[in-house]
């Protein structure tokens, strides 16, 4: 505990202030309850997600470096992002800035040109789940739980970029090479890379039961191709939803707005096609924690979830 810091720069990402506002709202609630402080990154820009990096390398570096520079301006060494895509983008940038001096110098020069302070130090990025686990932990969640999620069977869906790739951040050595020491290493606080358990631990502390969900807990949902390659995404989401349903889950807990949107959108489409066993609703893990902390369904904006988890939660008397 206490490795990352209780007060951090909070990079919400575009999604959390638009279609995924329920995640944004519930994240703030949970952070407040757990006694952690989020310092909103003023005037941030989009991280470029998984798309921009395929178009322009330096442009994506710049987009993220600008956010890092803003965090430094607000006096932070740590950025926390609730979205898998955002935290990945920032960590990827961190990796390239740390390992490639030429990229670092060029980025700094371009930042200055764009009217942003150059980076004196590269801030580190963590996913918000990692932060919650390390700075508050299951024990604290247990203390704060007023309405345990008793009887709720949760399939914890982590998505791809929460654990992968494990070495984009905090290795400081170039990937690979002959030197054993210089090989990619996991960062200290990172979740188990093949069998992540932080979300399981937090939700179990809040009284929920996790269902066996491997290996679909880190299966891709189609991600950046959820709009451009519909057939593949549909199949991936079908596999995730069916596994969850067949393992007996009432609800899928998510921790990324992109995965969440993809799951909800394709759940709807699959149901329209009459595919069996895909009717598991999805909710952000912060929403479930919020409910456990005694907040109402309206407080955590459960209505925003297009897959409508309310009936399931009402049936169990949780909302």
């Amino acid at each position: 505990m206490g490795i990352i810091g209780k007060r951090v720069a909070y990079y919400p990402g575009c999604s959390l202030e638009g279609a995924a506002r329920s995640y944004g709202v519930s994240t703030k609630i949970v952070a407040k309850e757990l006694g952690l402080e989020l310092d909103y990154l003023e005037d941030y820009n989009c991280c470029g997600a998984m798309e921009s990096k395929n178009v322009t390398f330096m442009g994506t570096m710049l987009l993220n470096a600008r956010n890092m520079s803003l965090a430094r301006k607000q006096g932070h060494k740590v950025i926390v992002a609730p979205c898998n895509g955002c935290s990945f983008s920032l960590q990827r940038t961190e990796y390239f800035l740390e390992t490639d001096k030429a990229v670092f110098d060029k980025v700094n020069a371009l930042l200055r040109e764009g009217g942003v302070d150059p980076l004196d130090q590269i801030p580190q990025t963590y996913h918000i789940l990692e932060w919650f686990y390390h700075e508050a932990g299951p024990q604290k969640v247990k203390e704060k739980t007023r309405k345990p999620l008793r009887g709720l069977k949760v399939a914890n869906y982590y998505g791809c970029l929460y654990t992968r790739p494990h070495f984009y951040a905090r290795t400081y050595a170039h990937a690979g090479g002959q030197d054993e020491e210089a090989r990619p290493r996991r960062r200290e606080t990172a979740d188990d890379d093949e069998h992540p358990y932080y979300m399981n631990a937090l939700l179990e502390a809040a009284g929920a039961t996790s269902v066996e969900f491997e290996p679909m807990h880190t299966q891709c949902c189609g991600g950046p191709h959820s709009l451009s390659d519909e057939m593949v995404s549909e199949k991936f989401v079908m596999m995730i939803l069916q596994t969850a349903k067949r393992k007996g889950a009432d609800i899928i807990a998510t921790e990324c707005p992109l995965c969440h949107a993809s799951l909800e959108m394709y759940r709807h489409r699959l149901m329209m096609k009459g595919v069996p066993d895909v009717d598991v609703p999805a909710a952000y893990f912060t929403q479930l924690l919020g409910l456990a902390f005694g907040y109402s369904a309206n407080d955590v904006k459960l209505k925003d979830n297009l897959s409508d988890p309310l009936p399931v939660l009402k049936k169990l008397g949780l909302a």
């Binding site: 575009c14 820009n45 395929n54 390398f57 891709c220 950046p224 191709h225 209505k303």
Partner: protein, 252 residues
């Protein structure tokens, strides 16, 4: 050849015969399958070097072809056998461009799940390297436009223009690009859901918050669709971004 890589051999090169007699010797049975040799007409070793020189592709030469990436890949396992990152790296290093070109129709299918990069024992950034190969191919005019590239460009354009993205604009903009006739209001040129032509699933999905009377959600998203959320003091930075993209040749 590992069993899961049978797809590397084109079906027309695999010969299967019920009875096979070679030089008067009957070799039917176990020996009834023959793979015709491949003829390599041309190669270009500069191709691999060009990938190596991009920032994303600099780890390509660490690959020792163990195929961990391919066996992890969900696109390979669940969708199309022909998507094979190990093989793409192999072909790129040998500079066998025509072979790469034959696979250009699946190469874009990478969903960026990073299982390959994550599991690579040699620390090759496989996902980035495959993207870099595709990049170099596009630069040389070896690949046609593919759907994900269109979407990537569309997305990036929105980011560079406003500094932030807006989900509604992305969704409707993309649907418009797919060929649906999205209705737009005449003054602001913003898409209006429900009136124009939209896929059935999207119509039902947009109706959901209306049915559940989720006013806050509707107002917020309508506001964002009308007034695109943007980053303040963006114009100077936007200029630099455009300049950088121009240098990289990403704008065309």
């Amino acid at each position: 050849m590992a069993i899961h890589e049978r797809s590397l051999v084109e079906p027309e090169r695999i010969l299967r015969k019920e009875r096979l007699v070679i030089d008067g010797v009957d070799v039917s049975g176990d020996w009834n399958l023959i793979i015709l040799p491949r003829v390599i007409n041309d190669y270009d070793l500069d191709f691999g070097k060009e990938v190596l020189n991009t920032p994303e592709g600099k780890t390509i030469n660490q690959c020792y072809q163990c195929s961990y990436c391919t066996s992890s890949c969900p696109v390979h396992n669940y969708w199309d056998e022909r998507y094979n990152p190990r093989h793409f790296i192999y072909l790129a290093r040998l500079g066998m461009i025509d072979e790469l070109q034959k696979r250009a129709d699946v190469m874009w299918r990478c969903v960026s799940c990073h299982k390959c990069t994550h599991r690579c024992p040699k620390g090759v950034l496989v996902e980035e390297v495959v993207k870099a190969i595709l990049h170099v191919m596009a630069k040389r005019g070896l690949v046609e436009e593919y759907p994900s590239k269109k979407f990537d460009k569309f997305f990036t354009e929105s980011v560079v223009e406003y500094g932030r993205i807006e989900d509604g604009e992305l969704l409707f903009g993309w649907i418009e690009k797919q060929g649906y006739k999205v209705f737009k209001d005449p003054i602001l040129k913003k898409p209006i859901p429900f009136i124009g032509e939209t896929p059935e699933w999207l119509k039902e999905l947009t109706l959901k918050p209306i049915k559940s009377m989720n006013i806050g959600f509707l107002v917020l998203n309508a506001k964002h669709m009308l007034v695109h959320p943007r980053t303040k003091n963006w114009s100077k930075f936007k200029h630099v971004l455009r300049k950088v993209m121009q240098e990289e040749g990403a704008l065309n």
